[in-house]
Structure formats: C-alpha cells, structure tokens
C-alpha cells in the first residue's frame, strides 16, 4: 500500500482477534471452574493470552501509525471508536449507580414499610429500620455486619485531590505536547502516572482498613455490595488507565507523537478524565451523601 494520505487504510487479514477470542474463552471458562473449586491456572493462562493479544495488536497499530499509513479519516474512525467505547463504559457504571439509587430510594424504605408495605414489613422484618448507609440488614445474622460506614473526609477526600490533580497534570502534558516541549510532556505524564498509581495504592490501603477494621465486606448487605462493586470496578479502571498512561509515557520518552498527530495520547487522556468523573460520582454518592 502506498503511504496514502489519500486512501483509507484497510488492513488485510489479522491473527489477533482469534487469539483474543481464545484468550477470552480460556479466561472465563477457567474462572467459572475456579468458582467451583478448580485452580486459578487456566484463568491465568487465559489472561496471559489476552495480554499477549493486546500487546501484539496495539503494537501493530502503533507501528502502522508511525509509518504514516493512517490518514486523517482513519484518525477520525479511532476518535469515534474511543468516544463510543467510553460511552459504553459510562453505561456499565450506570447499571451499578442505578442499583445504588434503587436500593437507597426504593428497596430499603420499602423493607421498612414505606409505600404500601407496612403490613409486610411488620410481618417479615419487624425490627428493621431504614437507614443509609445500611449497617443493620433485615436479616442481620446472614451477613457480616460492618462496625460503621466508610467516611468521606479521610482517604477518600485525599484520593479525590489526587485524581483531580492528575487530571491537571495530564492536561499540562497535553499542552506541552502541542507546543512540542518534550521535557514537560514527559514530566507531566510521569506525574500523572505516579498520581494514578498513588490513587490505586491509597485505595488498596483503604480497602484493608475497611475490611479488617470496619468489618465492611461485600457480604455486608447492600451497602457493602454497592460500595465494593462501584469502587472496585472504578479501581480496576484506574489501574487500566494508569497502565495505558504508562505506555504513553514510554512512547513519549521514545519520541513518538507529534504536535499535530497524537491521538493515542488523547484517547488515554479522555479515558483518564472519564475515570476521574466516575470517581466524583462515587465520592458524592458512595462516600459523602
């Protein structure tokens, strides 16, 4: 293919998707078996295949991009792709936020007899009182009862500052890239990566505090369920985002990207802002009010 700023690059044949499918299937079959008592080995192998696939696939795209095979129209396809991918992630979190709001607005008051449930509540859970965060469940003995809820103004507030600051540093790096100031680009990115992993570390510390000292577990009723699934999936996304930023950092150090052409950087920055915004939602609705 000639280097074609004028024609859309359509690759011919690719082995990565089938490797990805094999990896994905191995992972989930292994994990389903693990849940029923098998070892974790198969899941590990599957994940390794998936990571290999991502390394190879993205590596190939990076090479093609560096070789000038993508014109502006290809770049735009990537932009639409990344934008809608982030939208799908937003909707994934929306499901868990929906569960949180539903529990707080409906199921917990109803269990306490709100709406037309007075008699049912009296009959089934006479001692239950609606509250949020919900510490005492309707059937407490089935669950791990937390000592109290996770507050907002300790580690979570610090983490908010960490993540918001990282949003500033990544923007600083972007401006530096656009002015072709490579030093500031690398510095801004390195700071962002560091703040990202700092966030993950603090979150892990907070989890150990919640788990060991507060006895707050996934099995602590709907409060523990929503707390761990929302913050857990967010933490996973931050880890992914920080890893992506790290790759962008390495590429920047190697001299990739130009002031005009650096969509990979922007895609990761978009993603980073997305995890940032999700965190604000978490901070407000899970930790604070």
């Amino acid at each position: 293919m000639s280097a074609a700023a004028d024609s859309y690059y359509v690759p011919h044949g690719t082995k990565w998707p089938i490797i990805g499918s094999i990896g994905l299937s191995t992972t989930v079959i292994g994990f389903a078996n693990y849940l029923h008592g098998s070892s974790f080995i198969m899941t590990g192998i599957g994940l390794a295949i998936v990571i290999f696939m991502m390394y190879g696939w993205f590596g190939q795209v990076v090479n093609e991009s560096m070789n000038g095979m993508y014109n502006a129209q290809v770049d735009m396809s990537f932009r639409w792709g990344m934008g809608w991918f982030i939208f799908s992630e937003v909707m994934f979190f929306a499901a868990f936020f929906g569960a949180l709001f539903y529990a707080r607005a409906f199921s917990i008051p109803w269990l306490d007899g709100a709406s037309n449930n007075a008699d049912t509540a009296k009959l089934l859970w006479p001692n239950f009182e609606a509250a949020w965060p919900l510490i005492q469940m309707p059937l407490t003995e089935k669950f791990d009862v937390a000592k109290h809820a996770m507050g907002a103004w300790g580690l979570p507030a610090i983490n908010t500052l960490v993540l918001l600051t990282s949003g500033v540093t990544v923007t600083w790096a972007h401006h530096a890239l656009k002015k072709n100031n490579r030093n500031h680009l690398v510095m801004g990115l390195a700071l962002t990566v560091a703040l990202g992993f700092l966030f993950v570390g603090l979150q892990a510390w907070e989890y150990s505090h919640a788990y060991n000292e507060l006895n707050l577990k996934m099995s602590s009723g709907i409060y523990g369920s929503t707390f761990y699934l929302l913050t857990g999936f967010h933490g996973f996304h931050v880890t992914m985002g920080a890893t992506m930023l790290l790759i962008i950092l390495i590429r920047s150090i190697k001299g990739h990207f130009t002031p005009e052409n650096h969509f990979a950087f922007e895609a990761v920055a978009w993603y980073w802002h997305f995890v940032d915004v999700v965190w604000l939602g978490l901070f407000i609705f899970v930790y604070w009010i």
């Binding site: 293919m1 700023a5 859309y8 359509v10 989930v28 070789n67 792709g81 569960a99 529990a103 309707p138």
Partner: protein, 528 residues
C-alpha cells in the same frame, strides 16, 4: 509522522486468501457479513430445534417427552439463542454486507475489530450450548433470568451462561461502535445524513441503543455473579437489596433490546417496498424522526414488562402512558409503508411478499402489544400465551421475516445469482400459513389463561395446542426448505443484472456489479 512508507505487500485489487484461514483472519466486510449470516442461520436452526422440542411436548396435555427441568432449559435456551444468536447476528451480518456499499465506503471503519466482534460469538455460543450437557442441566430460568431463580436457585452451569452473556455483550458493543464509526466517518462525499438509505439510519440508531444498553446487561449479570459467589445482596431482600431490582436492571436493557431487534427490520422494509411499488418511499424524513423517537422512548417504558410485580400505582400509570405513546411513531411507519404502496406499480416478487407479510403481521403483533401495554388488562394477560403470541408475531413475522426478505432482496447482489422465484414464493406461502397456524391460536390460549413456560396444561387447551404444534412443525420444516434455497442460490442460478430489480435504487444497485467486487468502493462514488 509522514517519514516512511511501508510495503506490507500490495494491498489493492487482489481477492480473498483461500482456505479456512481466509475466514478466521478476514478483515473484509463482506466476508465478515457472510460469517455473521451463516452463524445466524445455524443458530436459527438450533433454536428452532429447541422450539420443536417445546411444541412436541405441548402437542398433548400431560408429560410425554421431556422432563420439566429440561423443558424449562429448552424455553430458556430457545429464547437466548434466537435473540442473541439468530436475530441480532443476522442484522449485524446485513449491516456488514450493506452499510459500506450503501454509503460508498471501501470497508467498515475498524476492520480488525470487526473480525473480533464476529469471532467472539462462536466461542460464546459454544459455551452457552455446552451448559445443556453439564451436571445439573442448563439454565432453566427463562431467557429473562430473573433473580432469585438465576441466583439462589440456579444450576452450577449458570456461571457459564453469565460469561457467555458477557462475551456476547463485548461482541455487540464492538460491532455497534464499528457501525457508528463507519456511518459517521466513511460516507462518500455528498452522502449527507438525510440522503442515507433508511437501513443505514435505522442501524445508526440501533448501534446507539446497543452501546447504551449492552453494558447494563453486563452489569446485571455481573451482579448476579457476585450475588452467587461473593456474598453480595443486590437481589436479596434479606441484605437490603431487592429481587425486583433485577427486573428493573434487566428490562432497562431488555426493552431497548426489543427495538434493537426491530429497527433494522424497519430499514429493510423501507428499502424493499419502494423498489417493488416503483415509487420513492413516502415520508422519508418522518421515518427518520420516527425511528429516533422510538429509540428515545425505548428507554422510558421498561417497567411495562413488570406490571404485576407490585409497583406503586403511579409507576404503573406512567409506564402505561409512556408505552402507548410508542404506537405513535410506529403508526407513522406503518402508514408510510402503506402509503408508499398506494397507487404504486406493484409486483410481488418474494422479497416484496415477505415485506408485505411483515407489514400485516407486525401490525398484528403491534396491536396485541398495545393490549399488553394497558396495565389493568395486562394483569390478566401477564405471563400467558397471549404474551408468547405477541412477541412471536413481532419477532418471527416481524424481525425474522425482514431478514428473510433482505436475503431475497440482496442475495443477487451478493452472489450474482437470482434465487429460484417459484421456490421463494413457495417458501413465503408455506411459512406464512404455518406461522399463523402456529401463533394465532396462542392468542386464544393466553386469553383463556394458559400460562407460558409450563410443560403441561389443562385439557381444555388441548385443541389449540395441537393446532399450534402442527403449525410449528410446518414452520420449522419451511426453514429447512429455506436452507435448501440459500445453498441452491449460492451454487448457481440465473445471472443477476447489476441493477437486479427494475425499481431498485441505492449505490449498491446503481453503482456496483453483481456480484459486488471484493472491495466495494476504493474510490468514493459520486452522489447525486
């Protein structure tokens, strides 16, 4: 950035690779479309075989053929396979084949990802089908997998079901992203949004719905998984959760999903009817706006699937009114199709027959839907065979008929061969008579109170069930006959002209040969 050029071989103008690896590694939209369509056909016959088991068991009252648990597995797997395996992949296959040709693009926007969205599916469906052979049997809680049937009381194989759903979701989202990127970014110069064929429009809207709701489904099955294994209590009232919450999350996905399965059908019918009426589509822009309204409304009506669950009356009223509002844009569409045919020079080739069949029988399904949408009335119909009749009219004589119509309409463009018109007409009349014998009596069964998803029934339902089963067997056989027609058409047949149909319009007919070349538009076509 423009420092070097590489030469990964000369990419232009050579055909596909040969052998099995062509299909495994392909990035060509036509190859991938073909893969999707064949997967869909295999799934149609698999899910159809399960329907035959159901209808055979219901042929007579009493328990004859299968254990109740297996019967429940059959209804569950039939639903899942038809929704996720037959209808959705068929539409994605059509999107792959048609959208680049219709908008004058060289291929889909993200060809490698296109390959992956397909190649996840065979793995996912193998996993799903394998649950039937696991200890404790396959999932038996209905395709809607309500908690706690799918959490506390479900067989071990449910975890494989959960991961299969995750994988289908990943595939659908990637496919939808690709469709949107293609439509928004790959149109030939001059192909403005309001010049796009309606199939492209409806797929754009469908893709948006897919990206919006498939992740919610993934969230629902994830909560199921953690409820089953990690002690969470999302769907457990004892911990402050609520099994009804599952239904809300599920139907927030499930209702837009219904439109995901019908909007592309609207696009297909809007292409076929003008061709054979030899008139432009009546009310093109109102069709676009109606499709968009249906998509928006689809997010606001989900709890009409839950009228009997014990919602507050205010909720029932709201969801009832919102639901009935959907009949307005849908009515616009039916009106436009009928008006397109009005005083047209109509001929009745097979695609047109299936399209008209669609308009008539989808309307029947739409009207029974209106009845179900009225909350106080639904209290009686809920979970009866009336519901089964309703959604099979919209999904079989609606979605499936549109897919069959699309096959007959575009297959000359794909293969370069005309199908056998006589066989096509036999297929239509055989299917149409059979499908009405199959589903129409189910209205009466439902109104009389026969519950769905039960392997046995009271003797007064015997006659209608027997009639329905006979129609079912005939309809099943008709689709095996369809398989024969498909293979026969691929292997040979009268040579198709480039325009194929006298009244055909659109880039794929006007500017491409039959069969369409492996790469459609290496240079963008002129749009008038």
């Amino acid at each position: 950035m423009t420092t070097a050029t590489t030469h990964e071989g000369d990419h232009h103008d050579h055909g596909p690779a040969t052998g099995l690896m062509r299909w495994v590694t392909t990035t060509n939209h036509k190859d991938i479309g073909t893969l999707y369509l064949w997967l869909s056909f295999i799934m149609l016959l698999t899910g159809g075989a399960m329907a035959m088991v159901i209808r055979a068991e219901l042929f007579q009252p009493g328990l004859q053929l299968v254990e109740p648990q297996f019967f429940n597995s059959m209804t569950t797997m039939h639903g899942l396979i038809m929704v996720f395996g037959a209808i959705m992949p068929a539409f994605v296959g059509l999107a792959n084949w048609l959208i680049p040709m219709m908008i004058g693009a060289p291929d889909m926007a993200l060809p490698r990802m296109n390959n992956w969205s397909f190649w996840i599916l065979p793995f996912a469906f193998t996993m799903l089908a394998s649950t039937l052979f696991m200890e404790g049997g396959g999932p038996a809680f209905g395709w809607t997998f309500y908690a706690p049937l799918s959490t506390t009381f479900a067989p071990d194989s449910t975890d494989f079901f959960i991961f299969a759903v995750h994988m289908m979701g990943i595939s659908s989202v990637m496919g939808a992203i690709n469709v949107i990127a293609t439509i928004l970014n790959m149109r030939a110069p001059g192909m403005t949004l309001m010049k796009m064929p309606l199939f492209v429009w409806t797929w754009l809207i469908t893709a948006y719905l897919l990206i919006a709701v498939m992740p919610v489904l993934a969230g629902a099955v994830t909560m199921m998984l953690t409820d089953r294994h990690f002690g969470t209590s999302f769907f457990d009232a004892a911990g402050g959760g609520d099994p009804v919450m599952f239904q809300h999350v599920f139907w927030f996905f499930g209702h837009p999903e219904v439109y995901i399965m019908i909007l592309p059908a609207f696009g297909i019918i809007s292409a076929i009817i003008p061709t054979f009426a030899r008139k432009p589509l009546f009310g093109y822009s109102s069709m676009v706006y109606a499709s968009a309204s249906i998509a928006i409304l689809s997010f606001m009506v989900w709890a009409h699937h839950m009228f009997t669950v014990g919602m507050p009356v205010a909720g029932e009223l709201y969801f009832m009114y919102a639901t009935v509002m959907i009949s307005v844009p849908t009515g616009v569409k039916i009106f436009n199709w009928v008006t397109t045919m009005w005083r047209g020079s109509m001929t009745f080739e097979t695609p047109m027959l299936f399209a008209i069949g669609f308009v008539v029988m989808f309307t029947i399904g739409g009207f029974s839907g209106l009845m179900l949408g009225v909350a106080p009335v639904d209290t009686q119909y809920h979970d009866t065979y009336f519901v089964v009749a309703h959604f099979h009219y919209v999904l079989v004589t609606g979605a499936l008929y549109s897919i069959i119509a699309a096959f007959y309409y575009w297959v000359p463009k794909w293969t370069g061969h005309m199908y056998d018109e006589t066989l096509g007409k036999i297929h239509f009349w055989w299917s149409t008579i059979a499908v009405n014998v199959l589903f129409f009596p189910q209205h009466f069964l439902g109104l009389a109170g026969m519950p769905r998803r039960i392997p046995d029934y009271s003797v007064q339902f015997s006659e209608f069930n027997m009639i329905s089963s006979l129609g079912g067997f005939a309809f099943g056989l008709a689709q095996v006959f369809f398989l024969y027609i498909v293979i026969k058409t691929i292997k040979g047949g009268e040579k198709a002209t480039d325009i194929v149909w006298e009244g055909a319009t659109g880039l794929e007919f006007e500017q491409l040969a039959s069969p369409a070349p492996y790469h459609s538009f290496n240079t963008a076509p002129e749009i008038k």
